[in-house]
């Protein structure tokens, strides 16, 4: 059994006493070193979940436990040491006047010694392939590059979990690919849990597990492959089904035997060219 890292126990949250519940009795567990994708339509409560994990918000009902520590006003600074978060807008989380200063920001807050900062900066910028931009100012970087710097600045403080809250939503396809590649490399090399929040089904395929949110409730929790099988239901809760999955469905309706639910083009291709040998 894997060690449990984040636990939501019957969590309910609303932004004000008069306002509707944004999260309604939400429970789930995220394990150590696991990659979980959280997906849901706009306004389904994903960002609220992320902020609750970081102690930026506190639930009115239920309990959130991070690495054995219940999140509350006394423990929030301990929790924030373990939970790193990348936000959606690349510009509005870049604090430093240069890449190096931005990576240092989190370490400065935690009182790291100067020499250690210098070493860590080199190390983490290499991990996100931004080592050539040490002294570059943010307005000379692309959105994808800024997000990679944001990831590096979190890695610098050695968090146990990395949350990406729609970190690719404002990027072009190239930037998106860069981030997804960086993130999966980091997940492979380090013992770190990863939570990627998205409203784009294409981005969940690499995750081990997917949590689907709908109107403040956990709607489903399964592997990406199992989630992809429920295309019609996904559409009903406002999610776009990827082209490959739609194509596979059409092919099935034409009596072409596709056994495994393909997650990407390569898998579909594999299914198709081995079709004859299976028949």
């Amino acid at each position: 059994m894997r060690e449990c890292f984040i636990e939501f126990r019957n969590v309910s949250f609303r932004y004000g006493d008069e306002q509707p519940w944004v999260l309604d009795d939400v429970s789930f567990t995220i394990y150590k070193d696991e990659w979980v994708a959280i997906i849901g339509h706009n306004g389904s409560g994903k960002s609220t979940i992320a902020k609750l994990m970081n102690g930026l918000l506190f639930p009115q009902k239920g309990e959130i436990i991070i690495n054995g520590i219940p999140v509350n006003e006394q423990t929030v600074w301990d929790v924030r040491k373990q939970v790193g978060m990348v936000f959606q807008n690349p510009d509005n989380q870049f604090v430093g006047t240069t890449v190096q200063d931005d990576v240092a920001f989190g370490m400065e807050n935690r009182g790291f010694a100067r020499e250690e900062m210098v070493n860590r900066i080199d190390e983490v910028l290499q991990a996100v392939r931004m080592e050539d931009y040490l002294l570059t100012e943010p307005h000379r970087l692309s959105g994808g590059q800024k997000q990679r710097v944001a990831i590096a600045s979190l890695l610098a403080i050695n968090p146990e979990v990395l949350i990406l809250d729609e970190a690719t939503a404002m990027l072009d396809p190239k930037g998106r690919k860069e981030i997804m590649r960086t993130v999966s490399e980091i997940q492979e090399k380090n013992e770190i849990s990863l939570i990627t929040i998205t409203h784009d089904l294409e981005e969940v395929v690499q995750a081990e597990r997917v949590i689907v949110m709908n109107s403040g409730k956990v709607w489903a929790e399964a592997t990406p492959r199992d989630i992809f099988k429920q295309k019609d239901d996904l559409r009903k809760i406002g999610l776009d089904v990827p082209f490959v999955a739609v194509l596979a469905d059409e092919l099935k309706q034409l009596d072409i035997m596709i056994k495994n639910e393909p997650l990407n083009h390569d898998e579909l291709l594999e299914e198709l060219w081995t079709l004859h040998s299976k028949m």
Partner: protein
């Protein structure tokens, strides 16, 4: 257009003056500003002028560029000079201009005061020409450090300055984007009567302000998520260090000041 954005008037370089510790530069300028008022004869003025010229030359920035940066001040310098010619009535009458008598004392004093003024502006402008805004911020934070004792928010002020520096280019890019978007909808910023042009600024400012407030809110949240709890217990990556060069330059400056006071009585 990205590369066109330069904050302040910093000219990159690696000259002696560029490499000086920014705190040292600010300290020297501070004392220079005071000392200038002690010059009282041709020798002491010459010493200050030579010091200023030497400093200017050692920045290795083109003189033309530096003087161009002073354009707005030329007018003030000229104005000071003329004012002195009219007001001061000492010494002998040199000549008459449209009935106004110009005295020799006025000429000398006008020249001295204008020179003083010019030297002040020149030396202070060398600071911003050879020091990045962020270095100046660091130096200000460090020099104001003693004020923390009387609860002056030194760290917060420096953080505010550095975040403003960080966001100026971002907001300029955004202004550019919004003005193009509005222009493409037919808003005209450039022609027409002033009143209409001012009116056209509104659809530019409103989205800019809305977005700036949203940015501020998100930035505050991101900073908190990254463990920012104020200046207490915080360490610094950028650290200023007094080098041998700084001490040498300061000693040289002290020698200049000593020479000035010595020649005052000549």
């Amino acid at each position: 257009m990205n590369n066109a954005i330069v904050i302040g008037q910093y000219v990159p370089g690696n000259s002696l003056i560029h490499r000086l510790d920014p705190r040292m530069k600010i300290t020297i300028i501070f004392f220079f500003v005071i000392v200038v008022f002690f010059a009282n004869n041709i020798i002491s003025y010459s010493i200050l002028t030579i010091f200023a010229i030497l400093t200017t030359l050692s920045t290795r920035i083109s003189l033309r560029f530096i003087l161009k940066g002073l354009t707005p001040v030329w007018f003030l310098i000229a104005f000071t000079f003329i004012l002195h010619l009219i007001v001061t009535k000492e010494g002998t009458v040199l000549f008459d201009v449209f009935g106004y008598k110009v005295y020799s004392g006025a000429l000398i004093q006008g020249f001295a005061i204008s020179l003083r003024f010019f030297l002040l502006i020149l030396i202070t402008s060398l600071l911003t020409l050879t020091t990045t805004p962020i270095e100046i911020t660091d130096a200000v934070e460090d020099l104001l450090h003693p004020l923390k004792k009387i609860k002056f928010p030194v760290h917060e002020l420096a953080l505010m300055m550095s975040i403003s520096l960080r966001f100026i280019p971002t907001l300029l890019q955004e202004t550019d984007k919004i003005s193009k978007a509005q222009a493409s909808r037919g808003v005209d910023f450039r022609t027409g009567p002033i009143k209409e042009r001012l009116h056209a600024i509104v659809p530019l400012l409103v989205p800019l302000f809305v977005s700036a407030f949203k940015r501020a809110e998100e930035l505050a949240m991101a900073m908190e998520a990254r463990g920012y709890q104020g200046g207490e217990g915080r360490t610094r990556l950028r650290q200023l260090k007094i080098k041998g060069l700084d001490i040498l330059v300061f000693l040289f400056f002290l020698a200049v000041v000593a020479a000035l006071f010595w020649t005052r009585n000549y």
